[in-house]
Symmetry: C2
Subunit: 204 residues, 2 copies
């Protein structure tokens, strides 16, 4: 491992990681449209094609960025779930709220994580899937737990329930992110209302 502080002239030392960090920064600063391999390379101070020695193509770079996003999101879900001071209903609210808040705080990253760019046409890398699937499964597990405890008054099918729930948070998040729901100050209200629609006759 090379000293990070020492600027090497030819070999960069940790280019792969640097590319991911800087690309993500560019994404957050100016949106996906401004993330080009050439701009990225130039900003990192390396030639146009240097990234190709660390990522097969642009798609692989994007997958790498999304990967880190899924780790973050997974962690957020875990934190909420493991908070022992909350009631089940509060856990449920927190999941919805935290999820949509994450999307709202990282709109372009969220867009990337769930966009067809990296998922459609089998273009997702193995590493991306390895990072995303546990995140998905955790949501199913949470739903299963809630359902077991009687939070929803429906047939006991955790997979279906979680697919609908995830659809709801994903949809609301997207409608905000994409600029169709425009009044950001109403996010909390909408989360609240979603909770009451799902739990209107819950035993909890």
């Amino acid at each position: 491992m090379k000293d990070i502080n020492e600027k090497s002239t030819y070999h960069h030392g940790d280019l792969r990681e640097t590319l991911l960090v800087v690309a993500t920064k560019m994404l957050q600063e100016s949106g996906i449209k401004e993330v080009s391999l050439r701009k990225l390379a130039s900003r990192v101070g390396v030639s146009r094609t240097a990234p190709y020695h660390h990522f097969k193509d642009k798609n692989a770079l994007l997958c790498g960025m999304a990967e880190k996003g899924f780790e973050q999101l997974h962690q957020i879900n875990k934190n909420g779930y493991e908070d022992e001071e909350l009631s089940i209903r509060e856990h449920f609210y927190r999941f919805i709220h935290d999820y949509i808040q994450f999307a709202h705080n990282n709109p372009d990253l969220y867009e990337l994580m769930f966009g067809r760019t990296i998922w459609k046409d089998k273009s997702s890398t193995q590493e991306l899937r390895d990072s995303a699937y546990p995140c998905f499964q955790f949501q199913v597990a949470m739903t299963q737990e809630w359902q077991k405890k009687g939070l929803f008054n429906v047939d006991d099918n955790a997979l279906r329930a979680s697919q609908v729930l995830w659809g709801t948070v994903h949809g609301i998040a997207k409608l905000f992110i994409d600029g169709i729901y425009t009044d950001n100050s109403k996010i909390d209200e909408i989360c609240d209302y979603a909770v009451s629609m799902f739990l209107s006759n819950s035993k909890q």
Copy 2:
């Protein structure tokens, strides 16, 4: 108006409409990534920059395509709502089902209609908004009607209810379209389950 069957050498006659039709066809055939102005122009048999006399830029063309999509979707919603043989619960189911089916049948068009490409950064044209807003409002009106008739057991706030409902159908549709939910044969089951989650204690 020029005879449509007669091929004119210089002036096309109805280029704007032709561009919209052919571009939409390209979209359905090979996805948004394959829709370029140059390919489109060449396929229509016209020079690269001819489209600029009918659309300010590529974004305006995309808005024009989305516009037609909203008219279709609006019509589908209307048809379902005006079917007098259905109970309220059936109306609700049909809305969810038809909506997701539309998205599933026209994945790339749906993606375009609701994607940030045409909505974010104030890039939507006035005509697009004129076509989309009535479609949105119709959904709010439907929800209001359902709520008035006691379909949901929550506070009487049609806007919030419709935002959550739309979020749900939009989210489920997107998760299928973008290749994250992959088993298309389960669409109907998920729609069913969504209905029961919302109506589990409804009076209807």
